[in-house]
């Protein structure tokens, strides 16, 4: 990153926001094409059932209906949902586009109707008669593992999707050496991502040109194009995916969904454009869920607080089918199980379980929040056991500064960090000592106050291709147009991250222009070179670096050309104020536009220089990056009602160098709120029959602005040595760091009631019951 900056690191307001705020942005549902048809999907009300027959005759003759297709009609026409994750000895669980013989979760598609308007399509769904033979649903992942459980797939002897192990260090010795071992079961409940914009697809096929265009609300337009071409068995160059504005994804749109392939198929079959917009209830039932792990943790430690070893057993509920990364997500928990501590030995054993539920997959943090949660809870359990201050215990177990790059026993290498510095800042900002004094005072008054800490590290900038299922590089093309305006084309297709602003800052900085001179184009596979997408906090740390490299290539070319025109050594040229001039003889100067014009008019080019100004880079990161931070929060629990109020939140995050602090702060805020959702409110609940009973926003509680106190954010800067910008990534930090801080605060508050641990979400009834039990015990 350049040393002196004019725009980089500055809190520029987002270029995206005016159109979003004014309602001028275009989402999938805003796309209207002549002759547009509409699709609606009939979904299974059963979690597990055999389909005996489907009668579509009434639906077919309903007014406006053009086509009705069942799973049986589509057999062999469209490939199954792709899964990019490969784990040794993993059982297959491919999801057909529509179920043809057996349904395996509530919400699985059984038939599709296409009609001339949306209401006709929806109404015709009700005319389809399906004869189901209900089967015993497999809902509880632990019961699913019991002998005699119903098995989801014929031919499999059980519901185990895979077993995965990762061990580093001498675990036996660690547990032998330990003065104490604490065991705890931690439930990381299933969550529903609830992006503000549900999914949606518009597909248009032009038979003459043999071109299928798919507009989809996705995080991965290019990967989607490749997969859709394969599922529909058409050449990849005859498919174009366009991602218009995307109203949030959080990982739930990092996928290839049945509806995307189905709509493409319908458009090709009918020769008509077809639209499908997911309803909220469909979204809750049929867009990937997150988390859902039962983690049994054993932590071995010495009396002085040194952590010696961790033994982790994970039951990961995968749902009924694999989506793109379903089996992979829990393994990230194993990779990150060391947290930001020097733990000599760690063993993680994961059992992936198939159940009659929607698939789990990436959700903001994706396997890492689970790891951080279990490590941070374990640290607090040890601190409570030893009556140590949780801050001191953490500090004791941090790797030393000279240990970096630090290799964990889980086989990864933390790039750079200064954990004590972020912890110190968080303690200082929160006035931690005083908080503890106030807590003691409050407890004397009979108030229930808890202070929670978390120091976290996460794995970002996904990632080196060697460690990724489908490539971990990113592309960027920079085009300087003849008028001197810049277009940056990025393969990292953003959906709220603000790359249109941060990449423009980068372009303006490097080329000495204004951010408004730089336009960022993304999300169209026919315009943007192949890319991987935005997820895993990689937008800036991989996509941004690719943009940086292309910008530098063009800067070099412009310098060579300007040097030639000015008779100056290119290395002595400065790009600033829309000019290119000599550092030592500022009169030797050309307007930026003049040099660009020279590149295009091509009349006075140096020998061997090609005309034009266009550069593409594919940046391959050599490692992940590992942002970190320290969060401190205070909760107070109403002893009468069990209501948990968050009253103070301090977050110190270190994501390396920062392109735009406003964007970073926005990411941190959003992440903390989402973590608050998991800690306090959210839980996807399936009943014993596999019915999703939190299937509406009436029943699935997400946080509101009024739940949140003012969030105080601080930052330390430890640049990453992995990339030339020194950036790390911050998109998921909040959900990773904040969930354990909140959980630790609640456990701390309840300590006087003899409570050691309570599982999320901290609903009033759960907390109240524990307090009642604790009070009785105390009496």
């Amino acid at each position: 990153m350049p040393a002196a900056t004019r725009y980089l690191g500055k809190p520029l307001k987002r270029k995206e926001d005016p159109r979003l705020i004014q309602g001028l942005a275009h989402y999938v549902d805003d796309i209207v094409l002549p002759g547009l048809h509409h699709a609606a999907i009939l979904r299974s009300p059963y979690a597990h059932a055999q389909i005996r027959s489907v009668d579509v005759s009434k639906a077919q003759s309903a007014p406006g209906v053009v086509l009705v297709l069942t799973g049986a009609d589509l057999r062999g026409s469209i490939g199954a949902v792709p899964c990019a994750a490969q784990i040794p000895d993993m059982k297959a669980a491919p999801r057909p586009v529509l179920a043809h013989d057996r349904v395996r979760f509530v919400g699985e598609g059984v038939a599709v109707v296409v009609a001339t308007d949306r209401y006709a399509a929806r109404d015709a769904i009700d005319l389809i008669e399906v004869d189901y033979e209900p089967l015993t649903p497999v809902v509880d992942p632990e019961k699913a593992l019991e002998k005699g459980s119903t098995v989801l797939y014929d031919g499999y002897k059980d519901n185990v999707a895979y077993r995965w192990e990762l061990e580093g260090g001498d675990l036996k010795a660690a547990f032998k050496k330990a003065d104490k071992v604490i065991k705890q079961r931690l439930v990381n409940q299933r969550l529903i991502p609830v992006a503000m914009e549900t999914r949606g697809v518009v597909a248009e096929y032009k038979p003459g040109e043999r071109q299928l265009t798919l507009w989809s609300s996705t995080q991965i337009p290019h990967l989607l194009r490749t997969q859709i071409a394969s599922m529909l068995d058409v050449p990849e160059h005859s498919v174009r995916v366009i991602t218009p504005e995307v109203g949030g994804g959080f990982g739930s749109k990092l996928n290839v969904y049945v509806e995307e392939a189905l709509l493409g198929y319908l458009a090709m079959r009918l020769g008509k454009p077809v639209k499908w917009i997911e309803t909220r209830r469909e979204n809750m039932q049929g867009t990937t869920h997150g988390r859902d792990q039962i983690d049994d943790v054993e932590v071995a430690f010495k009396r002085d607080g040194t952590i010696l070893g961790l033994r982790i057993h994970v039951i990961a509920d995968l749902g009924a089918y694999y989506q793109l990364l379903t089996p992979l997500i829990p393994t990230l928990t194993g990779l990150m199980a060391s947290g930001c501590y020097k733990i000599p030995a760690i063993r993680t054993e994961i059992i992936g379980v198939l159940t009659n539920k929607m698939s789990t997959d990436a959700y903001r943090g994706a396997g890492r929040p689970e790891a951080t949660y279990l490590v941070e809870r374990a640290l607090d359990l040890v601190a409570a056991e030893l009556k140590n201050d949780p801050a001191d215990l953490r500090r004791k177990n941090f790797p030393k500064l000279e240990d970096f790059p630090y290799a964990t026993p889980t086989g990864i290498i933390y790039d750079s960090a200064n954990y004590p510095r972020s912890l110190d800042l968080a303690l200082k900002m929160s006035d931690y000592k005083k908080l503890r004094q106030e807590q003691a005072k409050a407890r004397k008054q009979g108030r229930c106050v808890g202070i929670g800490l978390s120091t976290y590290v996460e794995i970002c900038a996904m990632g080196p291709s060697s460690a990724m299922p489908a490539g971990g590089w990113e592309s960027a093309t920079v085009r300087i147009e003849p008028s001197g305006m810049i277009n940056i084309l990025t393969g990292a297709s953003p959906h709220g991250q603000g790359q249109e602003t941060s990449f423009a800052q980068l372009g303006a900085e490097i080329l000495g222009l204004e951010p408004d001179d730089v336009n960022v184009i993304h999300g169209d596979t026919s315009i943007v070179p192949y890319g991987i997408g935005t997820f895993g906090s990689r937008g800036t740390a991989v996509g941004g670096v690719a943009a940086y490299q292309s910008l530098m290539k063009l800067r070099e070319k412009l310098a060579a050309l300007a040097g030639f025109l000015l008779g100056e050594d290119p290395s002595k040229l400065v790009f600033a104020d829309m000019k290119i001039f000599s550092k030592f003889q500022p009169k030797k100067s050309l307007a930026f536009g003049e040099v660009v014009a020279a590149a295009y008019s091509a009349k006075t080019l140096p020998p061997n220089m090609e005309p034009g100004l266009d550069a593409t880079s594919f940046y391959e990161p050599k490692n992940f990056t590992f942002p970190f931070g320290a969060h401190v929060c205070v909760v107070e629990i109403d002893t009468e009602t069990g209501d948990v109020r968050l009253i103070k939140y301090v977050a110190v995050d270190d994501c390396g160098n920062v392109l735009n602090p406003l964007l970073v702060e926005g990411q941190v805020h959003g992440g903390i709120v989402q973590a608050f959702g998991q800690a306090m409110l959210e839980e996807a609940v399936y009943d014993e029959q596999g019915q999703l009973i939190t299937g509406e926003l009436m029943d699935y509680a997400i946080p509101r602005a009024s739940d949140m106190p003012w969030m105080e954010t601080g930052r330390t800067v430890t640049p990453s040595p992995v990339n030339p910008l020194g950036v790390k990534g911050v998109g998921e930090a909040g959900t990773i760091g904040a969930t354990p801080a909140l959980a630790n605060a609640v456990a701390d508050a309840l300590a006087p009631f003899g409570v050691r641990h309570v599982d999320m979400p901290f609903k009033r009834e759960r907390i109240w019951k524990l307090m009642q039990k604790g009070s009785r015990r105390a009496k």
Partner: protein, 146 residues
Amino acid sequence: MKLSGQYSLPAPPAKVWALLTDPGRLAKLLPGCERLDPEGPDRFKAAVKFGIAAISGKYAGTLEFFEKKPPRSMRMRLSGKGLPGFVDGTGQVELAEKGGQTELRYSGEAQVGGMVAAVGQRMIEGAARKIVDEFFAAAAEELKKE
């Protein structure tokens, strides 16, 4: 969903039994019941209108009596489906004489699925209880008339 309870009905068990097994009278007394047509011995085709909050609709299905021990006890099986979802349940009714009147105990368990489960789960039990209450209140009235 599980449901159980008991009622006192102002008639001896034989009369209560006769009422409970008469499809014509049952249809009249059961809230929302539009039809209850015999389909075989102790098996009826039913059409019922039922709603919870905004999720209302018609359900079509069957009602079956079995293990009949007149006038003491019987079991029943109910299955129906409609636009808002499906219901599958079994129940048991026991009648005991008490001073010329009948003490009726019932218990049942039902599985509910579809939209009605996704949206109205928390209200289903209350709604079902209300229907049962209404039914027995109407049955008591009917028995008084005899």
